[in-house]
Amino acid sequence: MSIENPIFRTEDLCAYYGDFMAIKHVTMSIPEKKVTAFMGPSGCGKTTILRCLNRLHELTPGAWYSGKIFLRDQDILEMDPILVRRKVGMVFQKPNPFPTMTIYDNVLAGYKLLGIRLKKEEADRICEEALRKAALWDEVKDILHRRGTFLSGGQQQRLCIARALAVNPEVLLMDEPTSALDPKATLQIENLIVDLKNTVTIIIVTHNMPQAGRVSDYSAFFYLGELVEFGPTAEMFTNPKDPRTEEYLTGKFS
């Protein structure tokens, strides 16, 4: 299946932990300004391939890759990882705001930690914009100078989304962003994802089939490190081509 103008394109990507090959010869294209869901049973390599896309994989001792990952025309495996990560933001499974920082500083962490000085008005503007995009502004606008860790789990996760959005990434990677949250907070984040796709490309790992159905345009199904199937979500859900996908979708294994 061919994607026009993909933002990400992997070519024969393999990812390893030491001798163990966790991602096996994956070639795929991720469409721009769409939501793509990565699905598959536990341990199939969703987190691993996601962490390849912003070069976080190599932080694990002994981890390495082979193959190519193009972000537009540039192979990110040849780039400075710091530049890659500025363009490809990430939201983690567990909310992880910086405990020593206020809400305001958390949102601007992508600038402050790099020592980039912003004018007060500009900092305020970026902060408000990011919090609005993350649908958190109304809840925190009066407590911007309190610690981020005082917020509820769902608010913390949206704070982390705001933090990632504040540096204007081209892609936002989300690794099961709602698995630690209650249904209401989950719904808020799902709505947020749908709203965001006009501005940023989103890749989300999820175990939750209905969630994938609600938020994603495209889906990738992984099994034991291989990409089994990739296509429009609606198509894959109604008419899976591979029997393994079908088994997974019908709940034969998880």
């Binding site: 976080l56 890659v84 500025r86 983690f92 992880n96 910086f98 405990p99």
Partner: protein, 286 residues
């Protein structure tokens, strides 16, 4: 039936109470000497405490009065200099072990050295400082005492810093790295601030430990009955004064040694309490 149950219940209750009482008594026993010591200390020393005691210099032998101002100031200078020398490199070494060296051979070597040094008797460390500083300079000095105390605190601070930084969740490092922040900046701006309270606690504990050391100062700082602020001169310190006074033949010096002990114990106790409060704040933030 009902009756036997009742008897059994009563017996279980009594047994419980006996065991509880035994545990309480056993828990109090180790605290007894501590309180006896503190009580004796205050009983014997409280009479020497006066404003003059803090503000005056020692009187010549045989003359009444005199204070311990030079020893208090000396303790602060010697311990302060030791911290200035010891704390920054220790924290850097702790950061190295936790964030860079990790499981490397060199890191293990550093850890082993720190652990060995922690076990070296303090008198031996005094001799090392004597060889390194007193000999080359040709005289006793506060600086030599500070070097000895710095050597004593380094392994403690290195290891606590490492332990505390290792407790910083990895997910925070990744959050920072995922924003495109270089590793060294992540360490300085995220990991270190997150563990700062714990690091400070470790430093306070180390300072409290060295503040009361006598042996490493005996042939380094040496002691000095006069007031001096010059770290290149021999200098008095509370533990030295206590040692010298209690070995003297003068009864009023013995008396003052008790007073100086109260001062020293209070300083150490305050440092310990401060570190406890900080440590509790760390625990509360988790």
């Amino acid at each position: 039936m009902n009756n036997t149950n009742n008897v059994r219940y009563q017996w279980r209750r009594t047994k419980n109470q006996i065991i509880l009482a035994t545990i309480a008594v056993l828990a109090i026993i180790p605290a007894i000497p501590l309180f006896v010591i503190l009580f004796q200390l205050f009983q014997k020393g409280i009479s020497s405490l006066s404003i003059d005691f803090f503000l005056n210099l020692p009187a010549p032998p045989g003359e009444p009065g005199g204070g311990i101002k030079n020893a208090i100031v000396g303790t602060f200078i010697i311990v302060g200099l030791a911290s200035l020398m010891g704390v920054p490199i220790s924290i850097m070494a702790g950061i190295y072990l936790s964030e860079y060296g990790k499981e490397s051979k060199f890191a293990h070597l550093v850890r082993m050295c720190a652990d060995i040094f922690q076990g070296v008797p303090s008198i031996v460390i005094g001799i090392i400082a004597y060889a390194w500083v007193v000999k080359p300079l040709g005289k006793f000095s506060a600086l030599a005492g500070s070097v000895a105390l710095a050597i004593m605190m380094i392994p403690v601070v290195v290891r606590t810093t490492e332990e505390v930084l290792r407790l910083v969740p990895n997910i925070l490092r990744e959050a920072s790295l995922a924003l495109g922040v270089p590793y060294w900046r992540t360490v300085l701006k995220v990991v270190l601030p997150t563990g700062m309270v714990g690091v400070t606690t470790g430093v306070l504990i180390a300072v409290a430990r060295i503040a009361g050391e006598t042996a490493p100062l005996l042939f380094t700082a040496f002691g000095n009955p006069f007031m001096t602020y010059n770290p290149l001169e021999p200098m008095n310190a509370l533990p030295l004064l206590i040692f010298n006074y209690s070995m003297s033949p003068y009864e009023d010096w013995w008396q003052q040694a008790w007073g100086a002990s109260i001062v020293l114990i209070t300083i150490v106790l305050l440092l310990n309490i401060a570190s406890r409060i900080l440590a509790r704040r760390v625990a509360g933030e988790k």
